[in-house]
Amino acid sequence: MIGETLVRVLESNTLIVAFAVVGALVWFSYFLSAKLTRGKLHGSAIAIVGGLLLAYYGGIRTDGAMGLADIPLFAGLGIMGGAMFRDFAIIATAYGVRFEELKKAGLIGAISVIIGVVVSFSVGAIVAFSFGYRDAVAISTIGAGAATYIVGPVTGTALGADSSVIALSVAAGLVKSVLVMVATPLVAGRVGLDNPNSAMIYGGLMGTTSGVAAGLAATDPKLVPYGAMTATFYTGVGCLLAPSLLFLIVRVVIGN
């Protein structure tokens, strides 16, 4: 009776369960950060990796696409970590932004977005080519996926790509976003990601909103608004360039 009641209460208050679960995970991560790494590795970095591990577990358990949120008890994580709350919190981080910093790096941020889209697309297209793809539509779709997992399917659908190729492009974007989350705190020091200017460049080059959001949270939360600002333009620019200009270039280079 007690067990049943507990499960019923938890499953009918999933968002609240998510608050408690994330709280516990963050607490445990900061504990590990202090005890095991003497604070060298950010508690939030450990918490994000912990979240990814739980997502892996959830994916294995349920075969679903939403990580731990596919387990009914933890469905609230889907709401708490969904785009609505994520964007709301990102916007709130702008409260501490100094307008001068933004203005100073505005132009270079905009340039970074375009360079980021073109470079990611090219790198993805080269990888697709070296794996044996010779058809311009497939190469462009996979290249677009290396931009973000939204640009990939949008481009693939616009160009009429095969659904297996579209699935590959989504996967490439997912790998990118997870990798940005994990790798950012590790390489931040080496690439000079420690000021608003480079954060705006980073957001523009990486472009994956979730990756950038988590990567900066784990590195230095003060930089979040700067990186997020440029990253939110990336997917739109990618959806604009990939199926049009970049596809045409691929077609000329491939020659079909």
Binding site: G67, D87, I91, E101, K176, A214
Partner: protein
């Protein structure tokens, strides 16, 4: 009142997302173009208003800062709902493409930072 801060945030987000969506339709892409970025700009402009009848009280500020502070936990929840299994089991093409794109991005940060006029070494 705390709700003033939350409502201001909500208004900024709805306005920004709305114009981001319009912008996307205008240039003919199926995506929101910079909606969140526009919302952030709007919030920055609003809170920097120097009008005497528009000043942000401490409780109002609390309403914004609460969501600012919830940012990391929300990102942790976001990490826990990623499709990690698909990312890891998608085969070498997707993994290689993802890794290469990220590596190229990181390598370019210092390059672009060097040509950027906004750079400063006064840290």
């Amino acid at each position: 009142m705390v709700i003033y801060g939350v409502a201001m945030l909500a208004l900024c987000m709805l306005t920004g997302i709305f114009f981001g969506d319009l912008l996307g339709q205008l240039i003919g892409v199926q995506a929101n173009v910079g909606g969140v970025g526009l919302s952030m700009l709007l919030l920055i402009v609003l809170v920097n208003q120097k009008h005497p009848r528009f000043n942000i009280s401490v409780p109002t500020e609390t309403g914004i800062n609460f969501w600012n502070a919830m940012y990391v936990p929300i990102v942790v929840a976001m990490a826990a709902k990623q499709n990690v299994v698909e990312a890891l089991s998608s085969g070498w093409l997707a993994i290689t493409a993802g890794i290469a794109a990220v590596a190229a991005g990181f390598l370019l940060i210092p390059v672009i930072a060097r040509i950027s006029p906004g750079q400063h070494h006064d840290r």
